[in-house]
Symmetry: C5
Subunit: 173 residues, 5 copies
């Protein structure tokens, strides 16, 4: 599926996020795939990601990373839902992939309701960097994804790995 | 509705799943319908299934199996909802069927909240294999589905069968 | 709005349902409107109804009945929601009516959580038969619907009738 | 934005509603704007409103009123959601306004869960009549809406009026 | 991305809102960007925003501000969700940005459930004014958004700023 022209990846992030997600994605892509062309744009919030990705994909980008951070109030979760539906629409309209990389602040919430910002940073960085590779694989090395099918990959946290029926109880060994 | 050209089924699964769902589907299709052509792709997560199916259906596949596994956190359920809406969009755009085969890890959750991985594996395998047949029937033997109309078919668990008013109390016999 | 060509109604039901909804619809249509042409298809589950209806409407059917039964788990309700959004999309794409006839098993749930299958059968039959008439009226006798506007019609249960301010207390008479 | 040809308003209501909403809308439009042409159709339930409006708007109507009543069970609220998404789709496809006039029976629910039908009638009538004017203003007098911007207009109940910071405590005067 | 023709911003607000959001947006745009052309329309409620924005964007506007206020009942939250999905559709159809500026009255709710109207006014004004700048930046100065990427910008309240792992505990200084 590799084409001769230079592949173009669009990276779109937000000013709402408390982590510079776009910078991390660009860094990972430049470092690992120096031949790929990267375009980076920023929009105000995650609801603006879908149409910006669509615009870039219609302008020639081959795939997009939609990078957003979601606040921890219930209304934020609903807004993320709307943003995600928009992202699905943009994929359908362009017939191209957009990898949605959303971090929910709740994922780094302590028991007292405060945000563990160190955890938020490392979670976000891990998720963005791993999905940067997923984007490239979708674009030029789809076989790398087939090799990893059903292996419980996670972005942001450690992989859970494939299901192991004997994991609990473990009387088989 | 059978056509003379070789029918093509697209099988798309994810690296997120802890079970290699694509492999199971391909195995069932190859074993039962050796003449059908099967294309298998893998994407990172279930939100990426819809557009990959659309791409393959637009490229000539006749039907697709979208194979995904959904985590057990509430946000995963919302994400599955977004993925499913994307799948509906892809069907509408291509005017072709995509059988959505989603396994929710919660279906195999024990009372203590842990996942029964043996159950998850057998549930997943059963659901994938049965839907592989549904896909072929939709494509080349739609009469097999009409024969089974209203018979309470289930994938992943046993069929519940048709409603039987006398099942409880059972004073009629 | 009646046309000279024979009107065509598509009836689509599922193998998931525990009641043969398609058979009931075909029976009602054949019995009451012998001149109308009926096409009947069956799909695996209710998420497959929308695209099957769209396919039949694009192939020349004038209206469709989408017949589905929804399980009683919370995830089933979410899935029905996705199926319904698909049905709305199919209507918009074809600019034709699809009457969504969904029965939720919860509607026949007893206090102990078991399903009253006798109630489920009669509820389903009533809903399907009444909506078969609605489909024909939309197609060839829209004036019959205007006559019934605002009269609290129900399918599956008895009509509630028009609002009657004096119904409670009833001091006016 | 006024055009020389006679403006056409489509009024679509349901047989499900317990109030004849279409009749109220037609009455208000005929009484207040005798020169406007009104088309009235009725569909079975509120999920059928969107495509009927789309059909009429594609056939030449300039704007539509989608009049529906929503039952008080939780599943009814979900169904109303699906109906509303359909209405949004129909607006987008036609690039015309559809004013969604939905009355939720819950709005007239007494503490004991019964419906206050007198309240339901007056609420419904007020909402329909006010939105009939909104439809005409959108069509031929948009300046009337700009004049009312941010003034807390309500349909069905009294206007709440513009925010007044001094309303509570009111120590400023 | 700046074009030689005068940029056109569409401002659409509602009569439902208790704050004249459109007036605030026009004021901010006129004051800060006197060369930009501003078109202002008003619709009845927030569900009418999406298609009005689409109409104006199809008529030549380059970007739109969709200004809405959401009531504090649960059903209002669902309605806002539908309105937002409509806004996503309108963006996709026009391939242009619509900045959705929604204020939820709940954001200014006191513990006793009453609305703090002073807070509502200042929250609304801050959100509208900041998003007026975001719209212009998206249109003619996208580099200003990239500079602010990941800096925790908020509209309506103070910015939260970028994540600072040492913020809590703060033993590093």
């Amino acid at each position: 599926m590799a084409s001769k022209k230079t592949p173009v990846i669009a990276v779109v992030d937000t000013t709402f996020s408390t982590v510079n997600m776009g910078k991390i994605a660009v860094d990972e892509l430049k470092k690992s795939y120096p031949k790929i062309r990267v375009i980076r744009h920023t929009v105000p919030g995650f609801k603006d990601l879908a149409v910006e990705c669509q615009r870039l994909l219609k302008d020639g980008a081959d795939i997009a990373l939609a990078l957003g951070m979601v606040g921890s109030a219930p209304i934020d979760t609903q807004c993320a839902h709307e943003a995600s539906i928009g992202v699905q629409m943009a994929k359908m309209n362009t017939n191209k992939h957009i990898i949605e990389v959303f971090v929910h602040m709740k994922e780094s919430e302590r028991e007292d309701g405060s945000i563990d910002e160190q955890d938020l940073l490392s979670l976000t960085e891990d998720r963005v960097r791993k999905h940067a590779h997923n984007a490239v694989w979708l674009l030029i090395s789809p076989e790398k994804l087939v090799e990893r099918a059903g292996t419980g990959r996670r972005q942001g946290r450690e992989d859970v790995g494939p299901a192991q029926p004997e994991r609990r109880g473990a009387k088989n060994s």
